[in-house]
């Protein structure tokens, strides 16, 4: 068990990186608390797997240090870091039985056979594999194989962190849910740090206590699922988390109000008490790393933008006029496409709420309306912990 610290990690797969685009990881400073359940969330190619491999030691970072409980392990091999990793596709030693697979890491560490057997049976019991121990591992189903991969990490009592690299990719949908619950259960039971890499927000938000969102080789936000939903630090997080994603509209700022398309939009701080200390000083705000993001994609459009989630848009007679273009009934609520001039927005309307047929007007919830500059949240100031 260990606290894992990443200090100024930069990585490039090229031998002589020159431009910003050559860096797979631009600059990462992160601390993973001992015993946390983390999700590392981001689109394909954002550097999640690279970061994971740097923690496990499969990849040496070009710059920066990896520390386990303060001790520098940057130069150590995976085997000496005592980590476990479960890969996207199940890795099984075909020649061995399930028992042999689970025992493999212990035998490689020259543990006495009696102790190996006892430990393997214990772990097999936790993973519901006890009656399959003598089966050939290659004959099992994909989810059982993934359990074995996980089991090879769990058998080692000295393991510092278990990392999962999109482990449910090849698992049947109904088994995904079962396996995810099993992971949560094991996390509660063992308290071992778990880092779960995924590009699926549902997986990330249901598994993790803390979600680390990555985009284009940088960490854009670290927070609880609720924080990511209610207070996205970057428009990318707003787009990426939530379905449908956050509405992002061009705006200007006039005093305490934002102005969108000639309409003044009130912005209030959060009701939560923790937002009081938010942005309590320029020194604090300056500490937050603001990696530059490429102008392509969701984030990084220059200028000021207004962000409001579809959940916080409602019909209101004292709002501004819009036009309803489409209504999607998705069951418990409806997703309504609206437009004002050339600006397209989405809003979520409850089952029992009515959609006005004539002259619809809407308003944004001031407590959940944010202003972003160059993609980054500027108002109201976010709470930092």
């Amino acid at each position: 068990m260990a606290r894992i610290t990443l200090e100024q990690i930069r990585h490039s797969y090229l031998s002589a990186p020159s431009g910003d685009a050559d860096w797979a990881l631009k600059q990462i400073d992160l601390e993973w608390a001992d015993g946390g359940a983390y999700a590392l969330l981001g689109p394909s190619g954002c550097g999640k797997t690279t970061l994971l491999n740097i923690i496990s030691g499969l990849v040496r970072p070009s710059r920066g240090q990896v520390r386990f409980d303060g001790a520098d392990v940057t130069g150590l091999d995976p085997v000496d870091r005592h980590v476990a990793q479960v890969f996207q596709f199940p890795v099984i030693y075909d020649t061995m039985t399930v028992h042999g697979n689970l025992a493999f890491p212990l035998r490689n560490r020259a543990m006495p056979p009696d102790a190996v057997d006892a430990r393997v049976r214990e772990v097999a019991g936790m993973l519901d594999l006890q009656d399959k121990l003598s089966r050939r591992a290659s004959r099992l189903t994909a989810d059982e194989k993934q359990k074995i991969s996980l089991g090879r990490g769990l058998v080692r009592s000295d393991v510092n962190v278990i990392m999962f690299d999109e482990p449910l990719t090849v698992i049947d949908p109904h088994m995904k849910w079962v396996l995810r619950s099993k992971l949560k259960e094991l996390h509660r039971e063992f308290g071992v740090t778990m880092i779960y890499v995924t590009h699926d927000q549902t997986e990330a938000l249901t598994f993790a206590d803390t979600v680390v969102v990555m985009y284009d080789g940088a960490v854009v936000q670290v927070g609880t699922p609720v924080e990511l939903f209610e207070r996205p630090r970057h428009t990318f997080v707003g787009h990426f988390i939530g379905s449908p994603g956050m509405n992002v509209l061009p705006c200007t700022v006039d005093g305490a109000e934002a102005v969108f398309d000639g309409v003044p939009i009130p912005i209030a701080g959060d009701d939560d008490s923790d937002s009081d200390d938010a942005g309590s000083g320029p020194a604090r705000a300056a500490r937050v790393a603001r990696p530059r993001l490429s102008p392509s994609g969701a984030g990084g459009t220059s200028g000021l933008e207004l962000g409001v989630r579809p959940e916080f848009v409602c019909f209101s007679d004292d709002g501004f006029a819009v036009e309803v273009t489409k209504v999607d009934d998705v069951g418990r609520y409806r997703i309504v496409d609206i437009r004002r001039g050339s600006h397209l927005m989405k809003m979520v309307v409850g089952e029992n709420d009515t959609i006005p047929s004539e002259n619809p007007r809407i308003r944004f919830d001031p407590a959940h309306t944010r202003v972003y500059a160059d993609g980054w949240l500027v108002a109201p100031r976010e709470a930092e912990r």
Partner: protein, 288 residues
């Protein structure tokens, strides 16, 4: 189930293939079967002889001797080429600019016609003028493949290893390249030794291609003709007379059509039997 129409019209669709196979395999083979039961003294006059030639072949000292030579030769080259091929494949780079260089170098011997290989090694190994022959003799080792059976055997084996190890290398390399990186990464995390990686990851993943390599090398070496024919002509004496060479000597040299046909069929059945046994054994191992 609804009504099911049964008719045999589909047979017409496979008829062209049946005809083709009949012409290029069945009919030629049946003529051999035909010869193997008959005796002729020329003028297209044949007498039925029953199993006489089969009995003669199976009890003949000469056939036994070439059969044993053949088994030893095939066993020796398999024992050398398979491990050597795997070893070379393991040392080849998996990515980078050297991959294509290695692949071309490996493919070169396979592109040379068989009789040219025989001729090359013949000249290369000649004790008076060949580079190899002169060098070995100059080192004080008596070496003359045209007169000394041991020299002839070693030369034949080395020539085959030089010619065909590449095939094993390429197949094994293809098997190695198909192993996802995650296996090596998992092995690193599990603390596996280099031997354990070979034993539990690389060897099992190469099993299928190695099965094919062994089968191909078995069949090819069991039927080897051209290279030893050009190199040694089956000599000195009969020491490198393998089954094919013996067969040709019988069929063409002595024009004993009947015994040669019987021998061909025995030979064919042996190859078929060994391949079948080997293949089923491997497949059964896979299902376990």
């Amino acid at each position: 189930m609804s009504t099911r129409t049964v008719n045999h019209r589909a047979w017409w669709l496979v008829a062209p293939v049946v005809v083709l196979v009949a012409f290029n395999a069945l009919i030629p083979m049946m003529t051999v079967v035909n010869y193997s039961f008959q005796e002729t003294f020329g003028d297209n006059v044949f007498f039925f002889e029953g199993f006489k030639w089969y009995e003669q072949v199976l009890t003949s000292e000469r056939f036994h001797a070439s059969f044993v030579r053949q088994i030893i030769f095939t066993g020796v080259i398999l024992a050398i080429e398979i491990p050597l091929g795997v070893a070379i494949a393991l040392t080849m780079p998996r990515r980078g600019p050297w991959v294509s260089v290695c692949l071309v170098l490996m493919a070169l011997p396979l592109l040379i016609p068989w009789n040219v290989v025989g001729a090359m090694w013949n000249i290369f190994a000649l004790p008076e003028i060949g580079l190899l022959g002169r060098t070995v003799n100059a080192m004080g080792i008596a070496y003359n493949f045209t007169q000394d059976p041991a020299s002839a055997w070693i030369t034949t084996v080395v020539m085959d290893v030089w010619h065909w190890t590449s095939l094993v290398v390429l197949l094994a390399y293809a098997g190695l390249c198909s192993i996802p990186d995650a296996y090596y990464q998992a092995a690193k995390i599990d603390g596996a030794s280099a031997w354990a990686v070979f034993r539990h990851i690389e060897l099992p993943k190469m099993k299928r291609v190695l099965t094919i390599a062994i089968l191909l090398r078995f069949m090819d070496s069991f039927m080897i003709y051209t290279e030893p024919f050009v190199l040694t002509g089956g000599g000195p004496g009969n020491t490198t007379t393998f089954l094919s060479i013996d067969l040709v000597k019988a069929a063409l040299g002595q024009f004993d059509l009947g015994p040669a046909a019987a021998m061909s069929l025995v030979y064919f059945l042996i190859v078929l039997l060994v391949c079948y046994v080997f293949f089923t054994a491997v497949m059964r191992g896979e299902e376990r």
